[in-house]
């Protein structure tokens, strides 16, 4: 009963044409050879990937993986207690509090990142404050370093960690916790043996949702990273926009996709049947 099935066709076609097909083009470019500006010889050349397999570029991937890992862990450490706090409010406040997390998330990533330029710069409020209070004795020198980029990505993607965690914790059957406490487990034991495993899919989902965008980040390193931060995102945009070496840029991007796919496979494998539970929290 109800609406006809072909209703999904327009969206389907749209996605295939404008999402899947362009990715195909990108694959084609990565298998090509650059012959001067915008002259690309297509074919099945492995040149770009051979070029990619060089410590110079592999280090860039490594730096990016490290940053994304630290960023994800940071989001997890900040986000889990926060999600727990949110999920354990009475429902009257819970909606409002949760909504207050959504609002910054949907506002412009660019503006939110840019705001850290204002906050972190040498002559800015944080620097003055820290010097006055005596935490540092020279102007704050964190802007245009990897530290600033880390702060930026954690700030930008924290909500993405919080959402699935919140859902997971909220859906958790509290009686199990009660039971555990009744049976004599300490708070920590309860947490480790009951809460954590129960919310595990949420943790995995949150990590996946933050790690992947952090890997592909381009805006944050450009604005906050200065000269010292050159990540995969910066490399891709450099190759596409400055060096105008599209085949190589495509290959670097393929590397990124490869990492992404590996992560997704790991995610699905580790969670197994609970993957639905984790993904469901996205809904």
């Amino acid at each position: 009963m109800g609406e006809p099935r072909w209703l999904i066709a327009p969206a389907w076609l749209w996605m295939v044409t404008f999402f899947v097909a362009p990715l195909g083009f990108m694959v084609a470019f990565s298998l090509g050879v650059n012959e001067g500006f915008f002259t690309v010889k297509f074919g099945l050349h492995a040149d770009q990937f051979q070029r990619l397999w060089d410590p110079l570029y592999l280090n860039i991937y490594k730096d990016t993986l490290v940053l994304a890992s630290i960023g994800t862990v940071g989001c997890l450490l900040i986000g889990y207690p926060f999600a727990y706090f949110l999920a354990t409010r009475t429902s009257k406040y819970r909606t409002l509090l949760f909504f207050l997390v959504i609002v910054p998330f949907w506002t412009s990533l660019l503006i939110r990142t840019y705001s850290w330029v204002l906050i972190l710069n040498e002559q800015g409020p944080l620097s003055s404050f820290m010097q006055t209070v005596g935490l540092i004795d020279a102007p704050l020198d964190i802007l245009y370093t990897k530290g600033a980029v880390l702060i930026g990505v954690i700030y930008d993607y924290l909500p993405l960690m919080v959402f699935p965690l919140y859902v997971a914790i909220e859906r958790m059957d509290r009686s199990l916790i009660e039971a555990s406490r009744d049976l004599g487990c300490s708070r920590w034991q309860t947490f480790r043996r009951v809460t954590l495993p129960l919310t595990f899919p949420g943790i995995m989902t949150g990590c996946l949702l933050t790690f992947i965008p952090m890997m592909g980040e381009y805006v944050v390193p450009t604005i906050l990273g200065g000269a010292k931060t050159f990540l995969v995102g910066s490399l891709v945009s450099n190759e596409i926009l400055t060096a105008i070496d599209w085949p190589f840029g495509a290959a670097v991007s393929m590397g990124l996709i490869a990492v992404m796919l590996v992560l997704i496979i790991v995610y699905l494998r580790v969670l197994g049947r609970r993957a639905e539970e984790g993904l469901g929290s996205v809904l």
């Binding site: 915008f38 280090n59 245009y144 200065g226 000269a227 490399l235 400055t242 060096a243 105008i244």
Partner: protein, 378 residues
């Protein structure tokens, strides 16, 4: 300063555009050879450049330019006199402009490439061959800026202004006096984290080449490799790679910036102790040029604008805004004497003789881009 000109009544009628061009040509000819021709002149070819635009000028013009590169009054003045609506989009580097244009960005009429990029763009077929008949004021350009190696015969470009790529430093924050590339590189560890460099492969690599005594345009892989080593040594001390360092130089977050002369002129307005250095070893002298994009929707307006911008008065107006030297004879008459005598805007002859013009070719570009990726990733 210059108030907006009141356009005489005869110039407001459509046919008067030709008249105005004729008048503009007449002013130019006045400076050049003392003849006077006033009033609407039809297309009578003259040896020093003919006077009228053969076609009607369109009513809008789209300019693709560097940011802050034209006096705020320049466009409104042109708009008013020619009844043309101008829109401007900006790019932060030549390579950005090339990428966008080559990717098929249609709709731009004018673009402002630096010399070496003119050659690249022309080879890529991105530029329209200029109709000199529509740019009689070309004759006003000083001969040393015409017919340069990147565009013999000025088929694709007309010089807009020129400048040098050296470095500026805050003499109140840097204790040493700096005069050469050697100083620039040597002092970097001492002022670590206080350096910025341009986001431009040829200019940064070039600075190292010049310091090592090689040609700015070297395509010898060994020389490039040595230069790469030098810039890699510099990298840890660099705060930002950017073509906009004015703010950080003014605020003192940066002490030393590898940049163009005009930028420091601007910085010095707020930080009087900022000095610009044309390094002793020599460096690049470049011209930025007006070029018309192939397939431009408004070619007549584009030609008219180029011609109009070559007037000494307009050149002077722009120079006083962006601090890059004008290229047209007779500019001094309209120029603030302090700027006319400023050696960072108008380097003296003995300095100019040590400067090189960038000469692009595929190897040149490739070697520098490779060095640049290493630099950025370091």
């Amino acid at each position: 300063m210059t108030e907006r000109d009141v356009t005489p009544a005869w110039a407001r009628r459509p046919v008067s555009r030709r008249g105005f061009l004729a008048a503009g040509a007449a002013v130019g000819l006045l400076a050049a050879c003392g003849e006077t021709e006033v009033g609407p002149q039809a297309t009578k070819p003259k040896p020093q450049g003919s006077s009228a635009a053969p076609t009607e000028i369109e009513d809008s013009l789209s300019i693709y330019n560097w940011a802050d590169y034209v006096h705020p009054k320049t466009y409104p003045q042109f708009e008013k006199e020619f009844d043309v609506k101008i829109t401007e989009d900006n790019y932060p580097s030549n390579e950005d402009a090339l990428a966008k244009l080559k990717a098929g960005a249609a709709g731009y009429d004018l673009v402002v490439p630096t010399g070496y990029m003119v050659e690249i763009m022309a080879a890529e077929g991105i530029l329209l061959e200029l109709d000199h008949a529509q740019i009689p004021n070309l004759s006003l350009v000083e001969p040393q800026f015409l017919d340069l190696s990147f565009d013999p015969g000025n088929r694709f470009s007309v010089p807009k202004d020129y400048g040098t790529t050296g470095y500026g430093y805050r003499s109140d924050l840097v204790k040493e006096e700096m005069k050469s590339w050697e100083d620039f590189y040597r002092l970097a560890p001492k002022y670590s984290g206080r350096y910025t460099v341009l986001d431009s492969p040829p200019e940064v690599v070039g600075s190292a080449l010049k310091m090592l005594g090689y040609s700015y345009n070297s395509i010898d892989p060994k020389e490039i490799s040595e230069a790469t080593d030098e810039i890699l040594k510099l990298k840890p001390h660099v705060r930002q790679i950017t073509s906009s360092m004015r703010e950080v130089m003014i605020s003192g977050e940066a002490y030393v910036s590898l940049t163009w002369n005009g930028e420091i002129g601007y910085v010095a307005l707020d930080a009087p102790k900022a000095l610009y250095v044309v390094p002793e070893e020599g460096t690049e002298v470049w011209t930025d040029n007006w070029s018309i994009v192939a397939g431009a929707p408004h070619p007549a307006a584009a030609h008219a604008f180029i011609n109009w911008a070559l007037q000494p008065k307009i050149q002077a107006q722009d120079t006083e805004y962006h601090y890059y030297g004008g290229v047209v004879q007779g500019e001094e008459e309209f120029l603030d004497p302090a700027i006319a005598k400023d050696p960072s805007v108008y380097p003296p002859e003995e300095v100019m003789s040590k400067l090189e013009v960038a000469q692009a070719n595929p190897d040149w570009t490739r070697l520098r881009n490779e060095a640049w990726t290493k630099f950025k990733a370091a």
